[in-house]
Every structure is written in C-alpha cells, then in structure tokens.
Amino acid sequence: MTFFYNARKVLQQNIREYGMYIALFVIMVIFTITTNGTFISSRNIVNLINQTGYIAVLAVGMTLIIIIRQIDLSVGFLAGFLGAIAAIAMSDPRVVANGLNLPVYVVIPLTLCLGIMAGLVTGFLVAQMKIPSFVASLAGWLIYRGAILVVTESTGTIIIANDAFNAIGNGFIPDIPDIGILPGVHKLTLILGVLAVVLLVINELNDRRKKQSYNFEVLPTEIFALKLIFLAAIIGGITWILAGYQGLSWTAVIVLLVTLIYNFVMSQTILGRHIYAVGGNPDAAELSGISVKRLIYVVFGSMGMLSALSGILFASRLQSATTTAGTLFELDAIAAAYVGGVSAAGGVGKVVGSIIGALVMTSLTSGMNLMGIGISYQYIVRGAVLAAAVIFDVTTRGKS
C-alpha cells in the first residue's frame, strides 16, 4: 500500500515536469496506432530525430534567452546565412566564385565563431544600447535574410560536395565489425545504449548515497528502483529502435551532446544559477553581485553559436545551402521552448524540456505526414497543441 501511496505522491509533486514526457508518449502511441506501426519503425524514428536536430539546438539556446526574459528572432536566418557561408568556404573556387576550398575541420569552428560574434552583436544592442531584444533581433532577422540573398546572388543554391560535411546531417556512427551475432542490428549503438544505462544507474546511486550521507530525504527504495527501471527501459527501447536501422546518426550525437552540456551548465553550475536568477528577478540579481549585462552577452553569444550549429546541420542535411534556408526556424524554436515548459515571464524552464518540446512538434509533423493529413490541417493541429501545452503549464504552475 505504501508503495502506491509513495508512487502517487511522487507523481503529483512532479506532474508538471512529467507532463511533457507523457504528452510525447501519448502522441507517439496515437500515431503508432493510426499508422499501423509505421510511425514507430526504426527508419521513421531515425528520420524524425534527424529532422528535429536543427530546430532542437536552436530551442536549447532559445530556452536560455527566454529564461532571461529576452527573445531572439534573428536565429533562423542567421542559421541560414551561416550555413551558406560554410558552404562557400568549403567550395572549390572553380565552382563557386568566392569559394575558399577550406577543409571541414576549419570551416566548422570558423562558422561557430562567426555565430558567437553575431550573437554578441545582438547582445551588445540589448545589454549596452538597451534596445528591446524583440526589436534588436527583428533587425537581425531582416539583415541576415538580406545577407543570405547577397552571398547566394551569383550562384543560387550552393551544392555542397564535401562528404564529411554532409555526413553530419545524413550519416551514422560506424559499426564494429560483424562478429556473427545479431545480424542486421547496429552493435555499437547497442553497446553505447547499455553503457548509457550503466552510467545512469551508477550516477543515480552515487547521488543517492551522497544525499543519505548528509541525512537528506531520498526517494523510498522501491520508488527509486522503479524510476531506474523506467529510465533504463526508455533508453533501452530507443536504443533498440535506433539499432534496428542504421544506428545512431551524427545529428543525434550532436543534439545529445549539446543537451547534456547545456543541461549540466543550467542545473549544476554557478553560471546556470545566475541565468535563472537574472530571469527570476533582474534587480535582485544585480544587487546580489551578478552582472546582468555580462550574462546577456553570454546567453546571446551561446544563442549565436547554436544558430551556427543549426545552420551547419541544416545545410549538411540538404547537402546544399539554399536561398530560403532558415525560414521560420526561429518560430519553431520558440514554440518548442514554450511547449517544453519555459515560462514567458522568465526564470523558469529546462533545456531537456525544450528538446522534448521540439520532438513533440516534429512528431506531429511526421505522424500527420504518414497519415496523409494535408499541410493546412497540420498547422492548425500544431497551433492547438502549442496553446494546450501552455495552458497546461500555466494552470499547473498556479497550484504548486
């Protein structure tokens, strides 16, 4: 009996946090049923993750931006523009007029640096010139949109011929040599999945032991065990699905890394605490010795870098830089963040939540595509889901 009581208590206390996961799960089940299983097929899931990638990394950056009570509309076209820059930098000058023929390992860091610089410019306008971020980034939106057209004027769409670069958006991690068991399954992916589960369990046990050594309250043993089994099952399930096709894609690896790093920074470090503090009450943060200006630079700089990453992912996926790349990315990223539980009032939100939000939005697109629902209805459904998510968020927040 105590088990059910405990389980209910934990669920009730964390309903807000689990709400998104439940929503994602429900959406996936519904589409799996309506598409007779096609939705949950390995091939489709891999596709879905790769499609989410370039929005997901933007959503991570946007989470921080919204937490500190700002907004950045320029990220979509900035991503498109930097994707084009990367494409030009890699091209052969005999094919593209300004091509530099630079190798991939130079082009990627260079693009990321350009992204940081662009972000700092927006940060300068917001922090130093005190221009509202909506306006400052709207100016950026226009400028980068124009900039894409300028750099692609002579060529139109730039085809990227670099295989290493194109693998980022389309390739998969290599497999270990075939040893005869489990044919048709990506074994390295399986091994990584098992490794992830082991690390998770060790980490959780460690954390629990430390808490107990401080005499803090911890979850009851059976609930803790249940939580571990549940998380292991999810990781195991996803791993199994991915391993059934071509394994982990490079996009998934990148998104996973970005999520892990940003989640760590936001939840464990002083920098993360300062970002939440500035969002919660900028005046109190300033008086507590936090330089709000500096943080605005940091957060916009990070957003710029992730925009560059998004641009790279997108260009790589299309194997080309197009004149319309980046269109509406910023709004998809903002929607993902809100669906993921980021508060418009600032100070509240989680990076992982925004990733889930991005997955929810792409799942809707993917599922409805498979069902053959027209694009017009897709927009309406996604709009309704966005509204519903925020309504859920606002109403459950009032109670806790």
Partner: protein, 505 residues
Amino acid sequence: MTAPILEMKNISKEFPGVKALKNVNFQVAQGEIHCLVGENGAGKSTLMKILSGVYAHGSYSGDILFNGKIQKFSNTNASEKTGIAIIYQELALIPDMTVYENIFLGHEIRNGFLVNWNETIKRAGEMLKKVKLDVNPATKVKDLGIGKQQLVEIAKALSKDVKLLILDEPTSSLNESDSKNLLTLLRELKNQGVTSIMISHKLKEVIEIADTVTVLRDGETISTLSANEVSENLLIKHMVGREINSIYPTRERKPYQEVVLEVKNLNAYHPSLGRTILKDVSFRLKKGEIIGFAGLIGSGRTELALSIFGNPVGYHLSGDIFINGARKHFSHPKDAIRTGIAYVSEDRKGNGLILIQDVKQNISLANLREIANRGVVNKNIEVQIANQYKNNLSIKTPSVEQKVGNLSGGNQQKVSLGKWLFVRPNILILDEPTRGIDVGAKYEIYTIMTDLVKQGMSIIMISSELPEVLGMSDRIYIVASGKITGELTSAEATQEKIMSLATTN
C-alpha cells in the same frame, strides 16, 4: 465655523495582521486648507485612499459624509464625480502626451465619437491660467520640470470641477521656489472656493499655510488644531507622543574604537530628475556598532546605502568611501560584496528576493562561490547551509525547498537576512529591516542584530520607525532632503529631537 464639506466618522480599516485605522474622525470645513500630519505609517495615506475610493466602500467601516450626504464610493471614478480629486506624490501623468491631452485624459471633450481638440486646447489654456502656469498647452509633459508637472496635475483636477482637492506630500520632491509657488496657488484656489487637504511632513510649511491641522498617530486621530494654536513643538509632540515599549533586547554598549567605514563628502546628482540626491554626506561606522539613519521616506537614505553598495542607478556620484582606512571605489555590487559589505533591501519583493525560487537558492545566490568547486555548485552543501540559516534565524518554512513567494513577510525578511549573512559581511546595511512584519518577527530581527554586533559585525540601520531607531542604535544620523541634518548619541536622542531635525527643510 462654516459647515463641514467633509466628515469622516469612525473610520476603521484593517489589513491582514495590521489595524491601519482605528475609529478615525476627520472633519474638513468648507473653503479651508486642512493639513494632515503624522509619522510614516500613521495612516494618513490609508485615510485618503478611503476618501478617494481606492479602498472601496465595504472594505472599511465608518461613514463618509460629503456635503452632508453619505457617500459610498466603489472606485476613484465615483469620488471624482462628486468633486473629490487626489494628487499623489508620484504624479499620474503620461510623459509622452501633451499638457492638454493629459489635462483632459479620461474625460475628453467630445464631439460625437470624436475628440474636440480645438475646444480641448482652449479649455486647457484656461485651466493653466488658473494654476498660473505659463506654458504652451501643446508642450509634452516630460519636457516640464517636476514643479510644473504638479501644476498640470492640479489643472487636471480643476478641469474636473473639483470641490475638494487632496495633495499627498506635494512639496516633497519640489525645490524651494516651486514649493512657494504651490503654496501661493493653494491660497488662491482657496479664495476661489476650493477646499484642500494637504498631507505634509514639512512642518514649517504646514504652519504657514494651514487653517486647521489634524494629527494622526498609529491609526488614531490625536488632535485637531486651528491655525492659531499650532506650533512646531506641539505638532511634533502629538506626532510622536507614544511610549517606547521595551521590546528591544538589552545590549552592552561600549566605546567603539576601530573605524570600519568612513564616508566623506558624498554627493549624488540625478541628471534625469535634475536634482541633487545627496549633499556632502559624511559619517563613520565603527566595529561592533549599530548606527541608525533616521529620516522621512524619500529623504535619500536608500540612495545613500546604494551609493555605498556600488549600485547608484541613474545618478552621478562624487566623494570618498574608506573601508578599514583604504579608499574604495565600487563599480558594481559584486565589488562591495567581496569587500565585506551586504545590503538587505527595503523592498524584499522588488529587488531583494527571487520569489519564484526556493529558500535555499535565495540564500546561496550572493555567495555561490563558497559552495562551488570549479563553477559546479554542490547542491548538498547548499541544502545544509540553507538549513543552518533556517534554524539559526528560525525561518518558518516546511523545507528549504519551499518557494520564497509562499512565505510570510517576516519569514521572507529572514530569508533575505540569511542570504546576506551568508556572504559573511563585516558591514551589514539593513534598509527598513522590519517594514511590514509583525511584532514577534520584529523582536527576532532585533535579537539577531544584537547577536551580530556582539560577534564584531557593524550595522547600518535605515529605518523610518523612530522607536526602532532609538531602541537599537548606538548613534543616530538624521537625514533630510539628502543632507545629514544631525547626529545624536543614543543617550541624547529623543523622538522629538529626531522629528524636528528630520523635518527641517
């Protein structure tokens, strides 16, 4: 005596935990200038808010009679319709609109569905003539000085055909000549038949202009005096004449030696307000000492504290600050914090705490370095430290994971105190440390302060509550209009002396 235009009978008003007004009787005669005086928190503003309908009928008990008829105002519109207009300390004008737009805002002169601008401008001109303000009605309000803006407010009230004009500390932000103009204008309006009620802390001004003065203290009417009986001493006596109850913990007071903080000739000028906020402020704080900064709200004490703390927002600073004998310049609060200064804000909710975060996060915020290793916060130590402050300061909360916004005012104040004690300061600046908290919590705060100075901390306490200043301080500096107008030792200080120094203009 002429018939009263206004009678407020047996007015009582309660806020959660506080009785703000207790059976107040207040009578204003037709055509007089009636001044309302009292300490901060005596209930003046509450009384005027009831009269103007900010606190609707039903939220208080007692009757309001205006022109002999019982009035039940449900909002400010209702009171305005009967001819009562109130002008607050913070002016309610829209800076980017013109003078004429502001004067008729909310009661525009219509021409069917449209605004009749020509008539508006003409009428605005007439109103401006009445208040002796010689500006073009098309001037934007933000281009006028604060004194002229106040006249626009009065013109706005007159345009509504006001019979009773209430001014809440109208001269507190005006310079001398603007103040004089305003008082002259009030007399002229009186001749034109407008009755006014003026709340003021400047007693000289009150004596100069009032036909009648009513003194409030602790939510009760103490006296109503006519012009020929008032004197500054009598008013002060009535304002503060309460006995100091011995709720202050006893403390050994010794001659203090070591100067930990010295401020020399601090001046602050606010360019966008166009006035000086601090004038030649000099004082010293010694190790183990509590000094009190007494004065009225708006006298510049918070600005002084923020200047020392490295956060003068919007104003220019000159002068010297010495910490332990070394000259310091703080360009950001973080420098001040690292030097060992902590500032507990007067405005807990505004800039003191992060209400959406929990107790432990608020306590650790200003000193995360101490519980972090290479930038990674140790959350277990954080909980431990928060629990330590929770116990030491007896913060009443189910756990340190509770959101601060859900705590009571007194407990929020303790969280704020805990946060700043955790930066382990040598100098603690407390700005109105007991504002809005109940008596029990007040005593706890006083006890904590006593313990802290015993351990060698030095405290600057800014407070508008005279008994508290007298009960806790070793020395008291009195601040008025940005200047230190006096320094008293605890032995020589009395409420009367402080009030008299605080009301010198």
